[in-house]
């Protein structure tokens, strides 16, 4: 293979802000950062469980603080990212592990819809179990 003279080549440099150049790149970064919001939520939930282990008084002080507008907004924001994670995760799953029915891959949109239906069912079960405890 004939290789060009490296000293004459122009090497473009990718700016660190490449993800601002295209809407699809931006959505990719949002998808990746959703994991950070989810982790932050889980850490807060861990603190709640920790306070529960410290006794009823500590627990109710903590759960009362969760009623503040700040924490409500925090949970609302995290919920948006969590739902975005769910939807994108189900769509990418349909690409990574295609569902075959009768030897044929079913359309990705259909598999995504099946997963979303399962997600809603699981959520309903968790909700029901929590109410019934």
């Amino acid at each position: 293979m004939i290789r060009p003279d490296k000293s004459l080549l122009y090497y473009p440099r990718m700016p660190a802000t490449w993800w601002l150049r295209k809407w699809s790149y931006f959505l990719f970064i949002v998808r990746e950062f959703s994991s950070l919001f989810i982790a932050a939520y889980l850490v807060l939930f861990l603190v709640q469980l920790y306070q529960l282990g410290n006794g009823a008084a500590a627990y109710s002080t903590f759960t009362n603080s969760l009623k503040s507008p700040g924490w409500i907004v925090f949970h609302a924001v995290v919920l948006v990212f969590a739902v975005y994670h769910s939807v994108t995760w189900f769509y990418t799953t349909s690409i990574v592990i295609p569902l075959r029915i009768g030897g044929k891959e079913i359309p990705r949109a259909a598999f995504t819809a099946i997963n979303i239906a399962a997600w809603i069912a699981v959520s309903a079960v968790v909700f029901g179990l929590y109410l019934l405890q």
């Binding site: 290789r3 490296k6 473009p12 490449w18 699809s24 690409i95 990574v96 030897g103």
Partner: protein
């Protein structure tokens, strides 16, 4: 009535006199049935013979004429002027590759990567011709057919920001071809591809941005191929850890 015109803003790079690309504006007659490649050939023949670019078949088969058109990786033989007129068209060399001259990029790095994934059928022993062909069922053919249409046009590399950040990444087309041969029932060489595929610069570097599959003119879907390689590699890894003494089929 004056003849309608269209303006092309074309990236120029002329070493050793120029060390960074500049741009040059060409205003040429507008023909709605022309593709961008026709416009570039008009410039080369009628306006400025010094403009350099690659092209060959003019029909989306050879994969030579990939460029950035208004920032999107495209085969210039497949995008019509009428989709942009009367706006200006920005023509740049494929992103993420070193530029040799004007719109010509250096693809030798890709050719090296292509070679190390061994994109050909590997057999432990070749069967003599007298025994006939290697037969496949329609299902066995479906397993790889969609991934075998690659024309090495490199649009997927130009669209992949991960390759832009880390050029050691084996990248979409080469990995998709590795997957294509791993999936082929006639092939027995997947063990020889694992070390390349199961490397930090192999499949694991990919974070599934998915743009490679969006820009692919042949609908190869390299993003799907790479994620499925991850699944295969993870399964293979689990077997090799759980059964270190056993068969690692």
């Amino acid at each position: 009535m004056p003849e309608p015109t269209i303006t092309l803003n074309v990236s120029r790079y002329r070493p050793p006199d120029e060390r960074v690309p500049t741009s040059q504006v060409y205003t040429i007659p507008y023909r709605p049935d022309w593709v961008v490649l026709d416009a570039l050939n008009y410039i080369k023949d009628q306006v400025d013979g010094s403009l350099s670019f690659r092209w060959s078949c003019r029909m989306g088969v050879c994969g030579s004429c990939g460029m950035m058109i208004n920032g999107e990786a495209k085969l210039t033989c497949s995008v019509f002027l009428r989709d942009y007129h009367p706006r200006e068209i920005l023509v740049e060399p494929l992103e993420n590759f070193p530029v040799i001259k004007d719109l010509v990029i250096d693809m030798s790095d890709f050719l090296d990567k292509l070679k190390i994934v061994k994109p050909w059928i590997i057999r432990e022993t070749e069967k003599p011709t007298s025994e006939g062909e290697y037969l496949q069922t329609p299902e066995e053919m479906d397993a790889y057919m969609g991934f075998s249409a690659c024309i090495n046009c490199l649009l997927c590399y130009a669209a992949c920001p991960i390759f832009g950040v880390e050029t050691d990444f084996i990248g979409p087309a080469a990995l998709a071809l590795g997957y294509r041969y791993n999936q082929d029932s006639r092939d027995e060489g997947s063990n020889m591809r694992w070390n390349v595929i199961n490397d930090h610069h192999g499949t694991w570097q990919c974070t599934f941005v998915g743009e490679c599959s969006v820009v692919c003119p042949k609908d190869v879907d390299p993003a799907a191929a790479i994620q499925r390689l991850k699944v295969d590699t993870a399964k293979h890894w689990i077997r090799s850890v759980l059964l270190p003494w056993g068969k690692r089929a």
